[in-house]
């Protein structure tokens, strides 16, 4: 069974003359345990697809099915929030400035109905490679990589099956990027997670993903496997150009 089925997805912002079509007729599916990449330049609609899935972009049409459940509008069930979680791009913006790490994780666990919150907070911090001494710190006392680890711990708190990663490393410097990517790879192996990862960096997607979709101007121009990517077998001219650019860089 495929975990995520997306068919003819249109997402737009605004009405009438102001209407901007961010995503047009996107279709793809992600199997259980697979890691799927969405690549494309800025403004190509990659992140918007994730926001439509999570209900953060309310105006969409088409079909989104998660674990056999068809979604409508922007309302999502409690089960959806438990099964699907998202890691945001900018760890400096995704943590509440006045909440300590303990508050962030404790509240999330409380919302998912867990009782043994203290033990779980400690375990989550261990799982993402942060020790207990980070537990009562505030975001401004953490580095970018540490913040992103907290954000990942928050996403994992409800023990989801699917993790949506919205450029999780693009705001971090290169050495920290590698640490976070390795952490994500390890967590996926341990917890049998399904990933959808948005990135503009082909190297990152090549490292993390099994298959990928290339997007341009809101449309998916090509879906291919990472093996094909490595062999430079892109068929669409835009994908070829993207590949060349990333090798040159």
């Amino acid at each position: 069974m495929s975990m995520i089925e997306i068919g003819n997805l249109d997402v737009w912002f605004g009405d009438g003359h102001d209407r901007v079509d961010a995503v047009r007729q996107a279709s793809f599916s992600v199997a259980e345990g697979e890691s799927f990449g969405l690549v494309g330049e800025s403004g190509s609609g990659k992140s918007t697809i994730l926001r439509a899935i999570t209900g953060l972009a309310p105006t969409w049409s088409g079909q989104i099915t998660i674990e056999g459940e068809t979604l409508t509008g922007k309302a999502r069930t409690r089960k959806f929030y438990k099964n699907v979680q998202m890691v945001f791009q900018d760890p400096y913006a995704s943590l509440h400035p006045r909440h300590s790490v303990d508050q962030v994780l404790g509240e999330t666990l409380h919302l998912h109905g867990f009782k043994d919150i203290d033990a779980r907070v400690v375990k989550l911090l261990d799982d993402v490679g942060l020790g207990g001494r980070f537990r009562f710190r505030y975001p401004h006392q953490l580095s970018g990589g540490q913040r992103q680890r907290v954000a990942i711990a928050r996403a994992l708190a409800g023990e989801p099956d699917i993790l949506l990663l919205d450029e999780p490393t693009s705001a971090l410097d290169v050495s920290v990027q590698a640490e976070i990517l390795n952490l994500l790879t390890d967590l996926r192996d341990e917890r049998k997670l399904t990933y959808v990862m948005v990135s503009h960096d082909l190297a990152v997607v090549g490292h993390m993903c099994d298959r990928l979709a290339v997007m341009k101007d809101g449309e998916i121009v090509e879906v291919m496997s990472v093996d094909a990517l490595r062999k430079m077998e892109a068929s669409h001219p835009y994908s070829q150009a993207l590949l060349k650019a990333s090798i040159a860089a």
């Binding site: 953060l56 998202m86 998912h112 975001p139």
Partner: protein, 303 residues
């Protein structure tokens, strides 16, 4: 652990418990507040005012209502009456000391009513949006369009003169700016990633507004309240001066100025002394507000 002083414990960057973390961040706020001399000066005046109000019966040399017509309009520095006496021979210093209670009472009540009402209206309007926003903000606009003192006058005229009604009238005219600030802050916060993140954990609107938006709005509101406090004291004094606030013989400072107005040319101290008291407290609140802004503004301290 044995050699750690209290100061080191408070400044540790790896707190060991929830209480420790909270105390540490409070202590850091206090340190940055303490380095602001003017704000400490303001705080000092207000603490002094609080102590004076608390111990008024011990400090006041006379009963503030005791009249002595043979002793009326004595100048400053006359023996037994440090700040002179008013037109009924009452000791001005004693009246000033008891009047600090009324001033604090007004300040406390207005500070409890107006910002809370503004915070509620502003955050709900900002977070929910749509029709709710339109209706709430138009009501706010209507209140904002009235001149403040005139609206307060109308309320007092309708409700009857007296200190409680004066407070209510001032609060009713003071909340709209707070609603505006809270809404503007909410609009910038609501689309941020950390609000999206908690929504994705299934949190409802009530939890998001009270636990995630309020803490970020409160600091700018506190700053605004302390800066407005001077205006509120002056408005209360103005209502007292016009005879619509505290009623005689209550030693409210505005009412004292109003009584002294008749003799202002020959016996200037009767109006000037309570005027100086209002000035000092207003200035203290302004200085405190300025210092609090440096400590509490999330844009500075968040990073």
């Amino acid at each position: 652990m044995s050699e750690v002083t209290l100061r080191q414990w408070l400044l540790s960057d790896a707190p060991t418990s929830r209480r420790h973390a909270r105390l540490a961040s409070l202590y850091k706020g206090w340190l940055s507040f303490r380095s602001n001399t003017m704000a400490m000066f303001g705080l000092g005046i207000l603490v002094f005012l609080l102590l004076v109000a608390a111990f008024a019966p011990l400090l006041a040399p006379y009963d503030p209502f005791a009249q002595s017509l043979s002793n009326r309009l004595q100048p400053i520095g006359v023996e037994g009456h440090l700040l002179g006496t008013d037109s009924l021979g009452r000791d001005i210093l004693s009246r000033l000391i008891y009047g600090s209670r009324i001033t604090l009472y007004i300040v406390a009540l207005v500070a409890l009513i107006a910002p809370v009402a503004g915070l509620l209206v502003g955050t709900v309007a900002g977070y929910v949006g749509g029709w709710t926003d339109t209706i709430l903000m138009r009501i706010t606009d209507i209140f904002l369009a009235f001149p403040r003192l005139v609206l307060a006058l109308a309320f007092v005229a309708a409700l009857g003169a007296g200190i409680e009604n004066a407070v209510l009238a001032i609060s009713l005219t003071a909340w709209p700016p707070y609603a505006r600030i809270a809404r503007a802050e909410t609009l910038t916060i609501r689309s941020s990633d950390y609000i999206s993140a908690i929504r994705l954990q299934g949190a409802g609107a009530l939890r998001i507004i009270t636990k995630h938006i309020w803490p970020l709005c409160v600091s700018s509101l506190i700053v605004r309240v302390t800066l407005d406090m001077a205006g509120i004291i002056l408005a209360a004094a103005g209502l007292g001066f016009l005879g619509l606030g505290a009623q005689p013989p209550s030693p409210e400072w505005g009412a004292m100025i109003s009584e002294g107005r008749r003799f202002i040319l020959d016996h200037w101290w009767v109006a000037t002394v309570p005027g100086l008291a209002i000035f000092t407290v207003s200035l203290a609140f302004n200085l405190l507000g300025d210092g609090l802004r440096d400590v509490l503004d999330p844009k500075d301290s968040g990073q």
